[in-house]
């Protein structure tokens, strides 16, 4: 492995093990020796079926896995080894350099705070922005994400799934992070909204030159919007390469299975 580059997010030899609980004392090795990198301006898709360990990879980058997880390996962000930072230092990297777009099905917004408050809170904390400035910025961000301006004063329970996902996107780009980790950002949305949200992600990150790690189980969706693809199975990366190459000429039987499954479904009846 080469020396970590200044402009990318590098993951080297990442392994995640979950300690067993109670009657299930068996510990689970969710990720095994994964290495890859995401450069700024690049969109990398991490594809695998559920249970393949892709979410564990994503959450281990900002170090947000539950305490039962033990993580080994190194993570570099713009040349800094963030995996060896203290918790307080790590907190300065979260959201400012690495932000997350959560799963659509997650309750990612605190129920008793307005959408606007989620964004202004982040701005006020990270940039010490005064209230009126952060409010103006929040309104602007919400509009860029394709929402109505009054969305800032609404509570999460008053929004639809698609709207919430757009709001999550607006919150994610609030600090202009270098890297965006999108964890199944379109699951639990209907097909049309899925496409719209994904387009918004692509356009917003392209404009700002952000690196995106898109975690999804949806291979065609990933191949449509990613530059390169990583295919994960049972905690290991089994195939990698440019998106087109992986989908059209899969080397691994597992990837072939995934693409075949898609092809079968798309076959006219």
């Amino acid at each position: 492995m080469n020396a970590p580059e200044k402009t990318s997010l590098e993951i080297i030899g990442l392994s995640v093990t979950y300690a067993g609980h109670g009657t299930h004392r068996r510990s689970v090795r969710a990720v095994r020796d994964c290495s890859f990198s995401v450069s700024r301006g690049e969109t990398v898709g991490l594809v695998g079926e559920s249970g393949s360990g892709k979410s564990s990879v994503l959450m281990s980058i900002p170090r947000l896995l539950p305490e039962s997880a033990s993580v080994t390996g190194k993570i570099f962000c713009r040349g800094v080894e963030i995996s060896s930072l203290s918790e307080a230092e790590m907190n300065r990297w979260r959201w400012r350099k690495i932000a997350i777009v959560p799963q659509g099905a997650m309750n990612s917004f605190t129920p008793h705070l307005t959408i606007g408050r989620h964004i202004t809170e982040v701005l006020e904390h990270h940039f010490k922005m005064p209230r009126h400035e952060s409010e103006a910025r929040a309104a602007e961000l919400v509009k860029t994400a394709g929402l109505n301006e009054n969305a800032v004063s609404r509570y999460p329970h008053e929004m639809s799934g698609g709207e919430k996902q757009r709001a999550a996107l607006a919150a994610a780009i609030a600090c202009e992070p270098d890297f965006l980790l999108a964890d199944e950002p379109t699951t639990a949305l209907d097909v049309i909204t899925q496409k719209e949200v994904l387009e918004t992600i692509t356009s917003l990150t392209r404009d700002r030159g952000m690196g995106v790690l898109l975690v999804t189980h949806d291979l065609p969706l990933a191949s449509g919007s990613c530059d390169s693809l990583l295919v994960m199975r049972d905690g290991e990366i089994v195939e990698r390469g440019p998106a087109r190459e992986v989908t059209s000429r899969p080397k691994e039987p597992y990837t072939r299975m995934l693409t075949d499954a898609v092809r079968d479904m798309e076959k006219p009846r």
Partner: protein, 322 residues
């Protein structure tokens, strides 16, 4: 606003039910209410005179109207035992009960909040173990047993506190009497505090552990917010409405606790007044004490309801829309 009115309305209903219960319990009971005050050997004329005196000769609806008027104007009538106005006696005792319950409630809530939060944030710590133990104790130990144990330890074995009463005999003069009063109050308040603390802290801990596992708390951490902000603004604010509900639900129990605590420590409060009145079949007095205790509960209910509406934006918003 509508949400609040709805809740206030239910408090009024509670009060009405208490009033009705109070009235009918004493009047529609097996036997003649007169038997309680008059010796069976009294002459019929004497009994009739007594009935007129207590208004027992009039039809029930009229009695009820008079009774409601008396209750709401805090007159409560005369005691059947002493023939003195009940309110005069209660007026002297109410401050003692409030002085017992209010500090205990505030202390146990504050301590419970701190203990529950600490236990949830530091799983496996000593604080968590204390909270779990106190919780189990408060759900399974009779309150009076805990209080008697405290008395045995701190008033009998190590006489740091008085065994009973609200003041020394003879009562000291001037500023000393305040300290004397507080000294007598210390053990009862302490006992109610630890009893209330256990249950409350356990609830807070359990809810907080659950809240900390919520997706939105993880996301708040992902946003790089400082720990205090994540814990208080995101996790704790989320459980505030149920916490208030717990406080609300525990109020009747706290008031019931006053009766027992005042009995154990032989304090002159409304609770013990109720016990004495019940034991001597002094219905107007018992009714008045019961009404006062219920009023105390309902008052706290309304207070908590206001906090609830303020704490939960969803309730607030729904009210505003209508």
């Amino acid at each position: 606003m509508k949400a609040f009115l709805k809740r206030a309305g239910s408090s009024v209903v509670v009060l009405a039910v208490v009033l009705a219960l109070n009235f009918f319990l004493f009047r529609i009971m097996p036997g003649d209410p007169l038997l309680a005050i008059a010796d069976p050997r009294f002459s019929p004329e004497a009994k009739a005179r007594l009935a007129v005196q207590w208004g027992l000769d009039r039809p029930l609806p009229e009695q009820f109207a008079v009774y409601v008027k008396e209750m709401l104007s805090f007159r409560f009538g005369l005691s059947m035992m002493t023939s003195a106005p009940v309110w005069d006696e209660l007026k002297n005792r109410l401050p003692n009960t409030v002085a017992l319950l209010l500090p205990a409630l505030i202390l146990s809530t504050a301590l419970g909040l701190w203990g529950g939060m600490t236990a949830a944030l530091k799983r496996g710590s000593i604080v968590e173990r204390i909270v779990l133990t106190c919780g189990a104790v408060s759900f399974s130990f009779p309150s009076f047993f805990v209080q008697i144990l405290l008395l045995m330890c701190f008033a009998y074995a190590f006489p740091l506190f008085p065994l009973s009463g609200s003041a020394s005999i003879p009562p000291p003069e001037g500023i000393k009497s305040v300290f004397d009063y507080l000294w007598h109050l210390a053990l009862p308040v302490f006992s109610l505090t630890i009893l209330g603390f256990g249950g409350f802290a356990l609830y807070i801990r359990n809810m907080m552990v659950k809240a900390l596992g919520e997706d939105y708390v993880l996301m708040a951490r992902a946003r790089g917010l400082p720990r205090g902000r994540v814990v208080w603004n995101h996790a704790f604010r989320g459980i505030l409405p149920p916490v208030l509900t717990i406080i609300l639900m525990s109020l009747p129990g706290v008031v019931s606790g006053a009766v027992i605590t005042e009995t154990v420590f032989s304090m002159n409060g409304v609770g013990r007044f109720l016990l004495e009145a019940t034991n001597s079949h002094d219905y107007p007095a018992a009714g008045a004490a019961f009404f006062l205790l219920a009023l105390l509960t309902v008052g706290c209910n309304i207070l908590t309801d206001i906090c609830y509406v303020l704490a939960d934006p969803r309730v607030r918003r729904e009210g505003a829309h209508e």
